[in-house]
């Protein structure tokens, strides 16, 4: 085990903890009515965002969903900008207009936050098309859920990307449910990687609870896509530990099933591995947690004291300024 691997693990552990603690704080803030609207938590799925975003470069683009706090954080969006967004403040990454479901950061090529299931898929093809036409070596990562794969847009988009051999990484976060609808009630063929391969797209199913496996698989796929061999499909098998959104009483699944998956908690697994190999001490962990808590505290404090966008700006940006 070399130093690079070890530091990569440390980075990924930190990222996962950041995401987890951020989400947990969001729940409190939602109860405190600081955050409103729909909010979808990423708890349990941290290994996917953390691992998948790791191999990307700043030139690469990301298209995400409404369950995207983790994606945004892993892409490097400052936590304060994210928190301010959820507080509806003008300092938010979308000036407070988007909220939890619409995080944007053009400077990091983070193209949102899309609340229409499947709605981001065609955008990803377009972003990749632009890269390919301009001869740029970038890839576009498109994240979406198992439920989204039932939408017509999934089909059209997979076919188009494959037909035109575009550098898209289709990253399906298969958490086995679309709201309350289990995978086997959404899909006649539940092996999504197999389905994806029927478009002639190279596809893999990956353990989405293992951040290193996610990172490795994504790096390999990104290399392929980047060097002109067309799109790849990665099915990350994962699980959300919490309800679909804060309104969901979770009638559709057993406590026992959730508990079984929690045994495979991606943060606990990696922590255990790193402790066992001696890479991670109690002290390291404490420091890590402390660092994350302070970052969150700061983000919350900032968001709380930030300004709202002036109401007079309501109609600004319907069209470009100065038109």
């Amino acid at each position: 085990m070399n130093g690079t691997d070890s530091s990569a693990r440390m980075r990924m552990l930190t990222e996962m903890v950041r995401i987890r603690r951020f989400e947990q704080r969001c729940v409190e803030l939602y109860s405190a009515t600081k955050i409103r609207g729909f909010m979808h938590l990423y708890i349990g799925e941290e290994a996917v965002a953390t691992g998948a975003l790791t191999p990307l470069t700043p030139e690469d683009a990301v298209v995400s969903t409404y369950r995207e706090h983790g994606h945004a954080l892993a892409r490097g969006m400052p936590m304060a900008a994210l928190m301010a967004e959820m507080f509806g403040k003008v300092t938010g990454c979308s000036r407070g207009r988007g909220g939890s479901m619409h995080l944007f950061d053009a400077s990091r090529k983070f193209y949102g936050g899309n609340a229409i299931v499947g709605g981001g898929l065609p955008l990803a093809v377009g972003l990749a098309l632009a890269d390919s036409m301009r001869g740029r070596q970038a890839v576009t990562m498109c994240l979406f859920g198992d439920g989204a794969a039932a939408e017509g847009e999934f089909h059209e988009t997979m076919n188009l990307a494959a037909l035109w051999q575009l550098p898209v990484l289709f990253c399906c976060e298969n958490n086995y449910y679309a709201m309350g609808t289990a995978l086997e009630r959404s899909h006649a063929e539940t092996d999504l990687a197999l389905r994806a391969s029927s478009y002639g797209v190279r596809s893999w199913a990956v353990d989405g609870m293992d951040v290193q496996a996610v990172a490795r698989a994504t790096a390999r796929a990104a290399d392929m896509a980047r060097t002109g061999s067309g799109p790849c499909f990665l099915e990350f098998r994962t699980y959300r530990f919490r309800a679909h959104s804060l309104y969901d009483p979770e009638r559709y699944r057993d406590r026992a099933e959730v508990d079984r998956w929690k045994e495979r908690d991606p943060i606990e697994s990696l922590t255990r591995r790193m402790r066992d190999s001696g890479e991670l001490s109690d002290e390291d962990l404490e420091k890590l947690e402390f660092g994350v808590e302070s970052e969150i505290d700061r983000a919350v404090a900032e968001a709380d004291s930030d300004e709202e966008e002036p109401v007079d700006d309501l109609e600004r940006f319907v069209y470009a300024d100065g038109k």
Binding site: R36, G37, F38, G88, K89, S94, G96, R97, G98, G99, M101, H102, N114, A115, I116, V117, G118, G119, G147, A148, A150, E151, G152, A178, M179, G180, T181, A182, R185, S186, H187, D248, P249, R251, Y252, E308, E309, V311, L314, E315, V318
Partner: protein
């Protein structure tokens, strides 16, 4: 009996499922989840999987399947979770449901009810806050209804199911929790006529769905200023009960239309145009429209509030017509 809008809708669906074995409910998460807004809670358990069908995320397919089943003699109730997602099924709605009877020379009917949640005001941001019911009312071949009261939530569905043609039923998301007394024997109501929700002789407030409440609140304020506003609830947006508002304007000579749709090309425009065509010489002041600002609805509460019709904006508009 104190009943919520949500409970009234549920009672209506339940009654329909009991009354006619050709009726079934189909849509995303209507079953195990109990409906995104808990409208269909408990119905799967009572009626089973055949009659309460969870669908994959495939709006076009399951709406089209509802049309096909209706053509074959069933009386389906299709739920599109919210109007925002109905765009994915719009081809089926306009080019098939609305068109088949006329285009087939009267041979094929589509006795289908499509329910969807509509409206803003819950900080759900741009992709989850559309009010498109007025826009849908442009399409010949459809009937469009919008219950604004608990009684209509209870009574419009059975009547819609009797209709040999497709009916879109828009439930305003902000109304699910509202309560009212409902008679034990409450049942079907007509869906042909508008209703006067409050009498008044000084001006006419014309509203529907979520804005009826806004108009009634405005009427209260106006009453405090000695102005008696009549409040008309359109109830059915297509075909419009033109007589109802023309008669009222004939008495009051002033009209304000309150419409949660975007202003340009709104249903309010149609109503204003008809008043101008049929009652021009009755008008003592220009018709006023209070609509939603022409922006994608923002998440931040102060911005969303500023964008939506409010009692204050209605009062201001009303005062313009009387001074």
């Amino acid at each position: 009996m104190r009943t919520s809008y949500r409970e009234a809708l549920r009672a209506a669906i339940r009654e329909a499922l009991l009354a006619d074995d050709r009726t079934f409910l189909m849509g995303e998460d209507v079953g195990r989840y109990g409906g995104c807004f808990a409208v269909s809670l408990g119905l799967l358990e009572e009626f089973g999987e055949q009659r309460v069908r969870d669908t994959p995320l495939s709006e076009s397919a399951f709406v089209g399947a509802g049309i096909g089943a209706a053509m074959a003699g069933m009386r389906p109730i299709v739920e599109i979770m919210t109007v925002n997602f109905s765009l994915l099924a719009l081809d089926q709605i306009m080019n098939n449901a609305a068109t088949l009877r006329h285009m087939s020379g009267g041979q094929i009917g589509v006795p289908l009810v499509i329910r969807m949640t509509t409206g803003g005001g819950r900080q759900l941001a741009a992709q989850h806050s559309h009010s498109l019911e007025g826009w849908y009312a442009h399409i010949p071949g459809l009937r469009v209804v919008a219950p604004a009261t608990v009684a209509d939530a209870r009574g419009m569905l059975p009547t819609a199911l009797e209709d040999p043609d497709p009916v879109l039923l828009f439930e305003h998301g902000g109304l699910y929790g509202t309560e009212d007394d409902l008679a034990e024997d409450a049942g079907a109501v007509d869906i042909d006529r508008a209703a006067i929700r409050r009498d008044g002789s000084d001006l006419t407030l014309i509203a529907y769905g979520g804005t009826v409440r806004t108009a009634l609140q405005a009427a209260d304020v106006l009453a405090g200023q000695g102005i008696a506003a009549e409040v008309i609830d359109l109830r059915t947006l297509r075909p419009l009960d033109e007589r109802a508002f023309l008669d009222s304007v004939g008495r009051t000579h002033r009209a304000v239309i309150v419409d949660e749709g975007w202003r340009s090309g709104s249903l309010a425009a149609e109503i204003a145009a008809r008043i101008g065509e049929r009652a021009l010489y009755e008008l003592d002041a220009p018709v006023q429209r209070v609509c939603t600002a022409e922006v994608p609805l923002p998440y931040a509460k102060h911005l969303e509030d500023a964008a939506l019709p409010s009692p204050e904006r209605v009062v201001d508009a009303a005062l313009k017509t009387v001074t």
